[in-house]
Amino acid sequence: MFSCEKSKMAFFMLGRVGLNKYLRLQQQILETQSYASDRIQVLLCEHDPIISVGRMGSHAHIRLHSDRMKAGTLKSVWVARGGGCILHRPGQLAIYPLIPMNWYQVSPGKVLRMVRQAVMEALRELSYTPLKTDLDFNIWGRTGLLGVTAMAVQRGVSCFGTYLNVEPEMRDYGFVDSVTRIPVDQSRRTMSSLLSERRQVVRMAEVRSAMVQSFADVFECDDYHMHTGHPMLRSVTG
């Protein structure tokens, strides 16, 4: 149960946006939203190829040839979130729930559980049932790790979120260890995808739509708003 009777939610479909540009947008939202707001903002987007490294990650988890990294074809960036290394690519859905946690009186653990529950229920809505594991807040399937949850709490607002591999080009994923612990029936620390798991076409638009409905259900919101883009995105450079 969510602590407030009805939550206020707004979903923003950003399309494809560079990770660095998204990070500046997120920072701007956190600086303006902060404690005073009662509105949950969920931003959905896809990122250009880049590797983000969280507080639990290190470059030892990236086994790509250093000449390729040096050539700049694939860059890495340190980010202030939990979790380890994540390779971002178009075809991976980034789900960023920005929740004013003080307003809704929720703990970091509850936020992680609710976000995971929302992603799991969206996948069930798409006729796919992920594996059950209590090891962490990630989403596991038969072929491996489908979604990684890596979050932060800044200024009392949750940020970052879950990265779900829907249908990205899988090149390089085998060289990036995204988790340090794996369930007993799994052998790889790298990411798989929903497409590999289901072996049939998965449309990103359907996944986004299922995600919106599922987040609204889990966060007990009957009346939410959907937007294309974000009003602050225009003022964020490059």
């Binding site: 507080r55 639990m56 979130r81 703990s107 979050m151 709490v153 800044q154 200024r155 009392g156």
Partner: protein, 89 residues
Amino acid sequence: MMTSSAFYEVRIPDFEIPAARLFLTAWLSSSGTHVESDDPLCEICAGDIVIEIMAKRNGVFYHAAVDVDDELVTGTLIGKIELESQFKR
């Protein structure tokens, strides 16, 4: 006029993540600096999530004997905020 000091203890709250190991990953306010309510004091990593600990009072913040990368548990004292109260006699 007389000034007295009291301390507000800053401890690691219960994040409700039972299996996570907690680490201090950064100090966001230096020891001995004045902080306002809601200023970030430090950053704790709890596995999949990184959490900023905020000041709940105004005053001068002092670090406890905890260093970056130290493993912590719920309830660990991470610092104190010296509250200044002024009153007339």
